[in-house]
Amino acid sequence: MATFHFELVSPERQLFSGAVEQVVVPGSEGDFGILAGHSPFVSTLRPGILTIHGDGQPKRLYVRGGFAEVSSGGLTVLAERATPVEDLNAAHLDQDIKNAEEDLADAKDDAARNKASERLDQLKGVKAALGTAGSTH
């Protein structure tokens, strides 16, 4: 299968750089898969699980805040936070959820409230997805 260059960077370090076959990115308007030769594309991210399909086992990472860019040079994902799923602990995620709940409580107008509740749903989705994934191992 054709491969393309993929980079995952967070402000603190570069987490992944190399050739991959497919990457599934949690975009703000829904998950999307990127294969080699994808047309130029920019999307923001929602908190979720990013899956890298390359040689061997697919790698799964939890990403939050940032965006993805597809250009002729390949795919670049800039995430404010990115953690491999194996390293992710429930407490971490719970903290994020708690923050989101506080945001929701603090929200002053409808727009802010909508945004906060959307974010909370997304985070709960991640938690649910991880919970089921954990049990199948």
Partner: protein, 292 residues
């Protein structure tokens, strides 16, 4: 003329100081290495961000651009974000950043503009407070923080952007020290709001592909620009951390060398005094014997 005991004490105290400065130098050298790696690790993200931003801004026309990019249309009120260290004993590091900020502030005030300060780091706050106490609108210190991370940059960025949203200022400039090498750190001023996109000089049309955007172009830009401010601040904090350790290392190296020279001089003086005393005693004995 100091007595022999005075001289001995003086030498001992200089030796103790030299031990401290030597230890500080070695600690700074170890920390510098860590700070440098952190600064380098942050580079790819900032570069990618610049590139994407340049692509995006090229497509957005002037009128509907977000305020973070286009500005408020005025430049009456300036916010100077001054990032310095938490500790002293690092040569001219803190004072040179503050001096640059102060010069800029005075120049702006001479033009009739209003200047406000936002201090990051205790040393800079102490220095600026002396002259511009009433103009300081915010102050953050990282004293309790062991390892600087993105969270700290976010904290600064949120506060600055809140001030901007409240219409507290029109232009924000960030002052920090760029790390060039261990012996050379350059105090730098960088405008962060409205954003300055470096990519405008990029070869037009060569790599700028017609992108598809999801959600719309303006939404992405609105999401990206605040992040960009944070990234710029993060980069500055990391550069600053590396510069601080570099400056401390070279200034402590100087101090150690100075102490060594002082010890040499004092030892010479001590030995001379000792010899003079022995000679004096001998003369006394001999002349006493001759008198008999």
């Amino acid at each position: 003329m100091p007595s022999l005991k005075d001289l001995r004490n003086r030498i001992a105290s200089v030796k103790a100081t030299q031990k401290i400065t030597k230890a500080m130098q070695m600690v700074a050298a170890a920390k510098l290495k860590r700070a440098q790696t952190a600064a380098e690790a942050a580079r790819p993200y900032a570069e990618k961000m610049d590139a994407v931003l340049a692509n995006l801004t090229a497509g957005v026309s002037g009128s509907d651009a977000p305020v973070l990019l286009a500005g408020t249309g005025k430049d009456q009120v300036h916010l100077l974000v001054v990032a310095t260290a938490e500790r002293g004993l690092c040569g001219a590091f803190n004072s040179s950043i503050v001096r640059l900020a102060r010069e800029r502030a005075l120049a702006l005030q001479a033009e009739g503009k209003t200047v406000k300060f936002f201090c990051v780091g205790r040393k800079g706050y102490d220095l600026i407070r002396r002259q511009f106490d009433k103009q300081i609108v915010g102050y953050i210190e990282f004293r309790a923080v062991k390892q600087l991370s993105y969270a700290q940059a976010e904290e600064v960025s949120t506060q600055v952007q809140k001030l901007f949203a409240d219409g507290q200022f029109d232009v924000a400039t960030l002052f920090f020290s760029k790390f060039k090498s261990v012996i050379s750190q350059i105090p730098t001023a960088q405008q962060i709001i409205p954003a300055q996109v470096a990519g405008e000089a990029a070869p037009a049309g060569a790599d700028i592909a017609p992108y598809e955007f999801e959600p719309g172009e303006t939404e992405i830009l609105a999401d990206l620009l605040p992040r960009n401010v944070t990234i710029q601040i993060f980069k500055a904090i990391l550069e600053n951390a590396a510069s601080e350790q570099g400056a401390r290392m070279s200034s402590m190296d100087n101090a150690t060398r100075n102490a060594g020279e002082m010890i040499k001089k004092q030892t010479l003086k001590y030995n001379r005094a000792r010899q003079a005393m022995i000679t004096k005693e001998l003369i006394e004995i001999i002349s006493g014997a001759e008198a008999l």
